[in-house]
Symmetry: C2
Subunit: 181 residues, 2 copies
DNA sequence: ACGGGATATTTCGCATGCGAAACTTCTCCC
DNA sequence: GGGAGAAGTTTCGCATGCGAAATATCCCGT
């Protein structure tokens, strides 16, 4: 995999980025993709023993921990979009695991909570989402975990900021469009 | 994640299962999911400006860097399954970006490489996959990146080992089935 | 040479996952 | 209080993403 010269016309070395740093970055990105993908796959496979999919386990465990959640809150906690979670909730409702209920105060909101059957199943399931990854993390010593958590926290903040900026720009461009035209 | 067990306090469990560690682990998993998901989303959006999807950019950039790859090699490098990449290659072939060619020596293998059009498009595209995440990583200092890379490397090895073990068990169980039954 | 197992790819059905548009309900401002 | 716009959810069409089964090819022992 040691590629000395990756296509020079790409974003090879932007600013102060030494080839050194780029190499580190490439490996880190690779590792993140690998860890996420592989963990997801294993979770999915474990879930299958209970007749569930990966995301369904995530929802079950999330609703077990907290009482009920609006569809939007659930989406946000899962890092997924509403339109995605609607489908997951549909299938879980079909299977009798969760139920939808309109909020009385604000009838736009849909509250989702476990049925008795869903709660029973949730208590049987030993795995959390991303179980393998969690197991690997337990093998790290205290200091490394601390360090990792701190660095990832900074990265998350950074990414959130970049996304925020991008969305703001987008919104402004849309406002200009709707205004000037 | 909110352990149902009543306050077992921060009693240091021998196996490293203190509430302290669990909290760290939960946050780390959260962060990984967030970073992966959000980066993927941004890449997809950037790709759209070129009439491409996220994975298509990944394939384009991968084939640009290396000459041609078998479908299996491509899958492995993308952390995806063959059946997934078959579909991606289908659509890229339909759009004239890549072409398939049977290997002459081993006719089971399908070599995939860029067409002229694909190569031209690849050279126009400034983004790598997971671009935002890469940008965030550049904001870290050298030491942190080094540390992160080292820890993720260990985690990847750990996960790979767990997966390997699991697959071996599965294979043995299958062998017993086919044999002893 | 030939037959069974191994390897590479594709096909099929299903579950995400997403953005854009449609709907419903709420809110705020005149 | 009424209408414009915001907020929450769903619908729709499309692209992953996967496992299991089907196909095609190779390889190895006899």
């Amino acid at each position: 995999m040691t590629n000395p010269e990756p296509s020079s016309d790409a974003v090879a070395t932007p600013k102060g980025g030494s080839a050194h740093a780029d190499e580190d970055i490439a490996r880190i990105v690779e590792a993140i993709v690998y860890l996420y993908t592989e963990s997801r796959r294993v979770t999915k496979e474990l879930a299958r023993a209970f007749g569930l999919t990966g995301p369904q386990v995530t929802v079950l465990k999330m609703l077990e921990g907290i009482g009920g959640l609006s569809l939007s809150d659930l989406s946000a906690r899962m890092s997924a979009r509403n339109s995605t979670v609607t489908g997951i909730a549909d299938r879980m409702e079909r299977d009798g695991l969760v139920e939808r209920k309109r909020d009385e105060d604000d009838r736009r909101i849909v509250r989702i909570r476990l049925t008795d059957e869903g709660r029973a199943l949730a208590s049987e399931i030993p795995v959390e989402s991303m179980e393998v990854f969690g197991a690997a993390l337990r093998a790290l010593d205290h200091e490394e975990r601390r360090s990792l958590r701190r660095i990832l926290r900074r990265l998350s903040d950074q990414v959130a900021e970049l996304v925020e900026t991008k969305e703001t720009e987008l919104r402004q461009r849309q406002a200009e469009q709707g205004d000037g035209a």
